[in-house]
Symmetry: C2
Subunit: 201 residues, 2 copies
DNA sequence: GTCTATAGACCGATAGAC
DNA sequence: GTCTATCGGTCTATAGAC
């Protein structure tokens, strides 16, 4: 009888392998069809398993979704905290916003396609908070219609570029998107973009 | 026995009134909760009816959805045809794209929130076609990464402004959004915006 | 035109064998 | 760790009375 103390083993005895394969397949399906249109049957089929087997690794569909969302939420919370305390510059907000959207682009895509997934996490509204906070950091707390429009277009553009243009190399995509966003909100940085501000993800 | 030839009466004898009330309530719920999360029970409840009554006016949920989407699809098809034949100027593309998104902003919001509604219409993909065709009209058929990014940001910004900023008066929203989109794709119109190009919706 | 009642399908979740 | 079998709930859609 071989002792189960090889790699890919966790304290509770569940092999991490299947659990992560479930994560990968589930995330891909959630992006394609949304959370609620993806059944546990779909996930199990693509893995060659049955629904019941999934319940050995995750206590419910809701907690499976939550475990996929949690890292993104933690990252967003950390960003909002640091950007909120020290009032961040437009460039800092825009760079951080792009990096957040790029690093978690798959789960963000899934959440945009089907916001019902937010119900899986207790403190929902963190995505709305990110949007409104970033908007306020860029446009101020009493913005004119023009400032509001520019903030909406800039942030929404960053988000879309980070998620739907995967064939453009990351560094080029990041540089061009951020420069364009700064143009849009009229950041008076005459020099287009110094050599710094490299990738983070 | 009174003859049914009064107003709000159609050839098949069904009063248009209830049918349109169903349309209005259904569209509002579809925007709020998505197509698949909105049950016929939800719609019937808000109208003070039962599920079965809805089936008198619409043969199925799918056809109810289709009847809501059809006008938007027809409008999009017409726009793509006229813009495709005569190669339209960037301003024409941008104005037409904004007007489409504004005129049908409710159904577009619902479709973005829950694309499964597209399954209700035979030729799906018309929404993807609108996006890719508009992008090509703005950036050309072999665009550089910079041109692609600018087209994505400009069109996506137009769409978002038309749908999520309803508190800004239409004429101002239209003018500012279109001017900003033209800035983004570097339309060399030095004069910001002449007096023409008024509302269409 | 609207109702009650129910058929039929699908999904999440649990129980228990192996 | 994975399986079969099944329960309970929800939803679309139909049948038939009024």
């Amino acid at each position: 009888m071989r002792v189960p103390d090889e790699p890919q083993q966790r304290r509770d005895g569940r092999s991490t392998d299947t659990r992560e394969r479930i994560h990968d397949v589930a995330l891909a399906l959630f992006v394609q069809k949304g959370f609620s249109h993806t059944t546990l049957q779909d996930i199990a089929d693509q893995l060659g398993l049955t629904r019941a087997a999934l319940y050995y690794h995750h206590p419910s569909k809701e907690q499976l979704i939550a475990s996929l969302i949690q890292p993104a939420k933690d990252d967003v919370d950390a960003f909002l905290e640091t950007a909120g305390c020290n009032d961040a510059s437009p460039r800092e907000v825009i760079e951080g916003f792009f990096d957040l959207n790029y690093r978690h682009r798959l789960i963000f895509l899934a959440l945009v396609r089907d916001p019902s997934g937010l119900g899986a996490i207790d403190s929902s509204g963190w995505v709305t908070t990110l949007a409104s906070q970033a908007q306020e950091l860029l446009a101020g707390d009493d913005p004119s219609p023009d400032q509001r429009i520019r903030a909406v277009v800039a942030l929404n553009g960053l988000s879309r570029c980070a998620t739907v243009l995967p064939d453009i190399p990351h560094d080029e995509l990041r540089r061009r998107s951020i420069d364009l966003a700064l143009e849009i909100i009229r950041e008076p940085s005459s020099e287009p973009s110094d050599e710094s501000s490299d990738s983070r993800s």
